[in-house]
């Protein structure tokens, strides 16, 4: 690695900074509004086709949702202007930590470590078992 390589690398890093700044300035992210129950169900049905949705909780800020499907919890969380989805055992979702209106769900996946959902209460009393 010679000096020219480091100069090229530094210039490239500066260019990356400028381009990210322009992308942020442009505000041309996907216009995905917050999830409501209808949108959340549609997204859950697409991500988990054929799964029965026993109950759905949508984050109060619309940035995610959690559904009970038999013994599984189906989780959707916002990532930038998109969403990621994972399924975990229902018992794992029930035992997730809930503090100050935030449910922190451990998704046990290196590519999706956790999802944080704003909910009024957790766990739901009638489905806690």
């Amino acid at each position: 690695m010679n000096e020219a390589f480091f100069v090229q690398l530094a210039l490239s890093a500066a260019a990356v900074g400028v381009l990210v700044g322009i992308a942020a300035w442009a505000k041309i992210a996907r216009p995905a509004g917050p999830l409501d129950e209808h949108k959340a169900r549609g997204l859950l049905e697409y991500e988990f086709p054929g799964r029965r949705l026993d109950a759905v909780w949508v984050a109060s800020d619309g940035a995610g949702a959690l559904a009970k499907s038999g013994g599984l919890a189906l989780v959707i969380c916002q990532v930038g202007d998109g969403f990621a989805a994972r399924q975990i055992p229902w018992a794992q979702a029930i035992s997730s930590s809930f503090k100050n209106g935030k449910l922190c769900v451990d998704l046990a996946d290196i590519a999706a470590p956790r999802a944080t959902l704003s909910l009024p209460a957790w766990p739901p009393k009638d489905l806690a078992a």
């Binding site: 442009a26 041309i28 992210a29 054929g50 990621a84 470590p113 956790r114």
Partner: protein, 305 residues
Amino acid sequence: MKAEFDPVTLATPFFILSIILEIVLARMGKAQARYEAKDTAVSLGMGLGSTVAGVFTAGLIFAATVWVYEHRLFTIPMTAIWAWVAIFLLEDLTYYVFHRVSHERRFWWASHVNHHSSQHYNLSTALRQTWTGGVAGTWLLWLPLAWLGFPPAMIAIQKGISLVYQYWIHTEAIRRLPRWFEAVFNTPSHHRVHHARNPLYLDKNYAGILIIWDRMFGTFQPELDEEPCRYGLVKNMATFNILRVAFHEWAGIVQDVVRHPRHALGYIFGPPGWSHDGSRETSAMIKARAAEAPAQPAGAIREAA
């Protein structure tokens, strides 16, 4: 391994200017493009990191290529036009094989997955390049070209030309090109299909420059207006942590092998999504399930997202 004439280095200013142009045109409403700042930062950061990572294996790859070239079958002149036509076709076929293996076997997918990890499809996505390609050893696939007698510099130049060609097709700004062009060449439309996670589009359109290889080997899928592309991975990433983007599938392989050592070969060399107990889904399983399920109207999916 860099030739004195390096198409990628020469094209770098074009990369930067074209990204700015795509963003500005989209901002003005003159072109179809979506950019999200964190996603863009990861894509460009991966591109920058790949140039650094490449330095660590460049010496090995160069030495191996030169060694093979010293044991070549023929001596092919770099100045002959027929030689450039031949390497154009052979390198592009090699790329098809590399790309197909990189999608259909987990060990190589671990290196390639990051290129598909964005939920966006724009020019910055093209630069979301691997950091672990040298380790994955897919460069071995190009050694037969040196063995045939193509000079290492010639191979490097053609690889660079292919990489630069594949840059501009990462865009939604260009819908369809003339029919003759779509029939022969890889285009934005064909490559959008390749980056889509819709079951119908999984494991299709592996082409580098020429789409003819997909047509010949049965992996071609045209983009359908009634099936809009949804980009990213079957299981999208829920983080912008660049280290997780670069290494998550490698870490997943290690995790699976440690948990199920008796099934190590399957977890390393099986198709992505393979599991010993059938608890996960491969592309083939997803496609089969989707083919059986009633079609979901595209409008409903768009609305939900």
